[in-house]
Symmetry: C3
Subunit: 346 residues, 3 copies
């Protein structure tokens, strides 16, 4: 298997001059504004025609030997660099914006694919792409410039804003509202019933979930992530939230604006997460608690109480060789007993 | 983004008198049986025409100020309430049953959507809805009153009982049997191969999974949950089981009747879980062990040995501020060594 | 629900003589080569016409009473067995190979189902089955003898080798390369964007993921597993890797050949896993670290540092009764403080 070839998924037919990029992204161009840029790459791998970036001092050595046609860097780095450059206070973020120009776009025709099923009462906006096998239910509304990818399912009364893309195989349950400029990756499920079950003494009684899900603008949701509808009130994902893959967001959770949640996290029912939080991969947040703004949860941690003070919290146990861990685990399982003995002052 | 509007997903065209509800659910109606109920809401948010419930004493204050047209409560609460009420020993469970009347039903036509692919040898029962893009394989059997939602896939020889609903984008592998009155949420995968791999010394040999999956009646399975087929015998989910989202049930597991499993749980191969168990979110159960009936597993716990005594078990570590946890973790990783020193009687 | 009936999913129309099986799999046949084998079963449940296996000494008692028509066993066991047998050094692995002959094959017709959408520029190999609802994008290439199951989605420029099967409801994003003899279970998502987000001071900037995913030959990927495309370089899954369900493989991870990963594992971005590793269920591996070959990670462990020594590593805490665990947890959360006191020599 040949994996040394350069990545081929970038769109290579697009090209811009440094001057065009500078103007478009309001950056200063130092030297050679006519330089043609037709792709991006990291410093150590870039070839002529490609743009690279310097965001950390530790990569300066790569800068000296790079074959990139131009590099994005901050002003102090540019003072020591004689080649073509774009100057940015946040080189990594600006590189990200420029890289988006070279992102591959699947060739879907504008309009509704013949194999899509769109209910007569659904309203599809201008310049939308409704791909093969998509199913759109009654009274659904899809705003202008949306992409509904192959085999997506939108149930009745789903509302989607503008410039939102459902990549493919996404399922949105009835009455869910999704904002504009959102990106939902394959396998996402929004609006499935929250896990409401009432015990009747000998069996479970399903509690209908009559709420919905509200998703704001500029939200990105990773593959196979599930966000459940609320029991009576809605589950809410505020603007700018970024959620990774295989995340579970239970019913009646609220995720504050611009919070980022890494993969495999579980947020239990009615938890409220503040704004600008970072939730590390595989962490779990208990239900009915509240995290204030700017809380950082370390990966694989278990948050069991409300947090009202910004900062970093964790409880993951870092692995050791199995032999050492087995001994430590035995001690842990007897810790209270052992410490009582010791504290009694033997 | 406006999230203060009341949830709109409940079906608002349905209405009943209190008397009708009382008769239908065999509850006592206290006062004003002619009261019209057209929806449900919690006490603090209810408006005229809505039914609410009182299930916990701590919400009595909300009862005093509610605008609900009627409230479900137990007999002792009703003695102190002068308004219209329905009396139930288990107000929450009865509220759940009534709320189901107001649940939204997607507008699928009865019958088989033109874009569905149904094998000529498949047998579809009476009053079924087979939605757009559904694929049903040879010799599959779908019982009366089932809903097979958009883009579901049923492979060959799948048998489904009556009144079962696959919401959409559900995949059922060949020869799986699913009972009646079941509800499977989007992204569920039933009957994928169990993880059988035999090591041949230099590479893996896949072990074919020739068993199947048997799912009983009244089972609910959450979004993106996976239940694998057995190696030679079947994987079994007994009647009344409730499983949340993103749960993994490995090959040859048996889940006892009426057990509830919260999100992100993993149950490894050949584990046997008893009846009436509760498995907390993100917990993991090792393979080839057995849990007796009425075991409660706390969230994020690791069950590594069989449990033969009902009760509650756990091992999750609750998070602390990062600084404190780092110190405790260092101690934990050296615990055996440190305790040996101390126990030697320094 | 009747779950005592024998599994019915094995293909029962296939049959072979012991001699045929011996020749096909290059095994020695001891006694009665004309014995007809039409299925497989474990020793305790086998009936005449079925083949069983003995791989562990502890099952010898089942051997004495088995009704199987023949048994696979090693040479020393065969010396003490008078019935029909196939002799193999690795009885379990050979049983697995033979069992594959009896595996059920869904009845898809060769060719392209009328409801599939295949772009005119896509190239489909010989003897392929493209099932109902499959969507194949522009310039995609599917090698000979592949099965693309119902409702699968292949975006533009996807390349798949020969004899590879996507069971159903699998989504492969643009430019992903998948090798030959692979098996991808339902709900798998390959090539969704890695979780690249750059903080701009007040909001997130999405970092386009311009790399791809390279999957080798003989790779098996379990249901609802997600493998993300790289940021600039590719995410790489080497030959012979076996991945279970609900696993997250982040962008720019490399998984070494013949490594096996159990369910619910999360591997964070840019981690490198060596060859012949075993990663236990629900474990998590931090980003940007490297595991050498032949590392065993115990289930539910948190790997936070690179490992350069083969062996077994772990950090899972085994559950106890809730009361005992609560006491131990209180001690753990105060461990540093308590040990400091004790070490100061009270």
């Amino acid at each position: 298997m040949n994996d040394s070839s350069p990545p081929t998924s970038a769109n290579t037919h697009t090209q811009f001059t440094l001057a065009e990029l500078a103007q478009r992204f309001q950056l200063e161009c130092k030297a050679a504004p006519e330089t043609i840029i037709s792709g991006v790459a990291p410093l150590h791998r870039a070839t002529p025609g490609q743009l690279s970036f310097l965001a950390q001092a530790k990569y300066r050595s790569a800068l000296a030997s790079t074959k990139a046609s131009a590099v994005i860097m901050d002003a102090s780095s540019a003072a020591e660099w004689s080649g073509p450059a774009l100057i940015a206070a946040n080189p990594y973020a600006e590189f990200a914006r420029i890289a988006a120009l070279f992102e591959y776009q699947n060739q879907y025709e504008t309009g509704i694919h013949p194999s899509a099923s769109v209910h007569p009462t659904a309203r599809i906006g201008q310049h939308c792409q409704i791909a093969a096998g998509a199913v759109i239910g009654s009274h659904a509304q899809v705003g202008d410039h949306c992409i509904i990818g192959p085999n997506c399912v939108l149930e009745d009364h789903v509302h989607i804003g503008t410039y939102t893309r459902l990549v493919g195989s996404v399922t949105i349950a009835h009455h869910v509202n999704i904002g504009s400029h959102c990106l939902l990756h394959p396998g996402v499920v929004i609006g499935a019933d929250g896990f409401g079950q009432a015990w009747r003494g000998e069996r479970w009684q399903k509690v209908p979930q009559l709420g919905s899900v509200q998703i704001g603008d500029q939200v990105e949701i990773g593959a196979n992530t599930t966000i459940d509808r609320g029991a009576l009130d809605d589950t809410i994902i505020e603007d700018g939230v970024r959620i990774d893959n295989l995340v579970q967001i239970a019913h009646n959770v609220r995720i504050g604006a611009h919070t980022a949640i890494a993969a495999c996290v579980g947020i239990a029912g009615s938890a409220v997460i503040g704004r600008y939080c970072l939730i590390g991969g595989a962490a779990a947040v208990l239900g009915h608690i509240e995290l204030c703004d700017r809380v950082i949860v370390q990966g694989m941690s278990s948050i069991t109480h409300s947090i009202d003070k910004p900062g970093e919290y964790g409880s993951a146990v870092a692995a050791q060789d199995a032999r050492t861990w087995r001994r430590n685990l035995v001690r842990l399982r007897n810790l209270d007993k052992t410490l009582r003995e010791l504290l009694r002052g033997k």
